[in-house]
């Protein structure tokens, strides 16, 4: 404890020192994506803001930057969702209850959804990009009265490749006060929802563009298309936030692996205002 009585964050005290976390449960989201529920072995909860990431790793192994997907307001264990891309992500997605992992962080900027209080919140997610947004969405729903409309537009590759299907089913049923639209890129005969790019959902969503904070996460090409569609709908570029992914290593802006011209994505991002990075996103040399 500090002299002022506040709990001292282990991450702030030693930002490069990993903390041991225990896997409590695993939940398969899709064929290659798993959500881990983890808790700190030392019992000190990890304080994080929605949109931040940790460097999640295995003992003696490598690390990967993984967003926290659970609500920052929820006490107790936290959730992180990992796609098996081989290497350490394979080790993480195949971890089981009782296994110990390492966590550094949290790092980076958050979504800061309180900037949208009193207006509409529009979440636009693509694929596993729903994971970093889920934390902010759960935070918004926990304080639902502070916002006018809360809208989630979600695009997935196929119906089977949607993540957080329990959440989506609950929200589609009207639970929580979120207006949900899901579209898929390809579908078989039984799918009754929209088919097409997630941008297709934007003109039909009912929100007040001048009083909207839009939060976008997904593949970078998708985010570029979505940002343009949101601007076409009247949302100011400065009110659109995206979450960029680069080669994060140290997490504290030292190593330079994640540098995007003047930005270190691990500290200036991952959440950035679109008007700040729009010009950088199409520069191939960066």
């Amino acid at each position: 404890m500090t002299a002022a009585g506040a709990t001292r964050s282990p991450a702030a005290a030693a930002p490069l020192v990993p903390r041991p976390f225990r896997v409590l449960a695993t939940r398969p989201e899709t064929a290659d994506t798993t959500t881990l529920t983890i808790e700190p072995a030392d019992g000190i909860p990890l304080a994080f803001a929605a949109g931040q990431f940790t460097m999640l790793g295995t003992f003696g192994g490598a690390e990967a930057p993984i967003s926290v997907t659970s609500s920052p307001a929820a006490a107790g264990p936290m959730e992180q969702t990992i796609r098996d891309m081989g290497g350490v992500t394979h080790d993480l997605t195949t971890a089981g209850p009782g296994d110990m992992l390492t966590v550094r962080g949290p790092y980076g900027t958050g979504w800061n959804i309180t900037d949208g209080v009193g207006g509409d919140l529009v979440f636009v997610a693509g694929g596993i990009g729903l994971a970093p947004l889920r934390s902010a969405l759960l935070g918004a729903l926990a304080n639902r009265a502070a916002y006018r409309r809360v809208i989630l537009l979600y695009g997935a590759r196929t119906p089977a490749e949607q993540v957080f299907r329990d959440d989506l089913a609950r929200w589609a049923g009207g639970d929580g006060g979120v207006a949900l639209e899901v579209t898929v890129d390809r579908a078989a005969h039984g799918w009754t929802g929209p088919v097409g790019l997630v941008t297709h959902l934007i003109p039909r969503a009912r929100f007040d563009p001048a009083n909207t904070l839009a939060l976008v996460c997904g593949p970078e090409v998708m985010m570029r298309f979505v940002a343009v569609a949101l601007i076409d709908a009247g949302v100011p570029a400065g009110r659109i936030r995206i979450s960029l992914e680069r080669n994060m290593k140290c997490g504290i802006g030292l190593c330079g692996h994640c540098q995007l011209r003047e930005l270190f994505i691990c500290t200036d991002g991952p959440v950035l205002a679109y008007d700040r990075v729009a010009g950088l996103m199409t520069v191939r040399e960066l």
Binding site: D32, R83, M85, G126, G127, I128, G155, A156, R157, E161, D185, R186, A187, A188, H189, W191, T192, G193, P194, V195, G196, L197, T199, H200, P203, R204, G218, P219, V221, M222, F225
Partner: protein, 154 residues
């Protein structure tokens, strides 16, 4: 309760935005309401495109059937969206099946009637052609982006 006329509906639809009332009345003269049961086909691949549809409720899936893998849903049009442009552009033929995935209502505009109005009033014809082209452009961009299969593992 006052019934909303087709002309009222068209005048409030983005595709027909800012057309004058006389033009809207002309177009409404080509239109009827249709209702399709879930699972029924609104149009079939290879058949003449004799109508221009606007979905007023429900959803129409654009499907392509493969003998090897069955029907694939390639695109869809939900409430407020238009289907499609073969009414305007030769050879005026559907290239996909259009199947209602839920009970669906459409405003159905007779294609020959529409083309006749466009020919008789080139200003109206230009307006409708530009709007159809804009819709085609948006769908083409989205389709190209989907070709990336961007949600797949890199």
């Amino acid at each position: 309760m006052k019934m909303r006329s087709i002309a009222d509906y068209l005048s409030g639809h983005p595709f027909f935005a800012d057309l004058d009332a006389a033009s809207i009345d002309e177009l409404a003269g080509c239109a009827v309401n249709e209702h399709i049961r879930a699972g029924d086909y609104l149009f079939r691949e290879g058949r003449p495109a004799e109508h221009f549809y606007i979905v007023t409720r429900g959803r129409i899936a654009l499907e392509l059937f493969s003998p090897a893998s069955g029907p694939h849903v390639l695109d869809s049009a939900g409430t407020g969206e238009i289907l499609d442009w073969p009414w305007l552009i030769p050879p005026h033929r559907w290239f996909f099946d259009g199947r209602a995935v839920e009970p669906t209502s459409v405003v159905s505009l007779d294609a020959a009637c529409l083309r006749g109005k466009c020919k008789a009033d080139p200003r109206l014809g230009y307006e409708l052609a530009m709007r159809a082209a804009q819709t085609m452009s948006q769908r083409l961009q989205a389709t190209r982006a989907r070709l990336l299969d961007m949600y797949a593992a890199p």
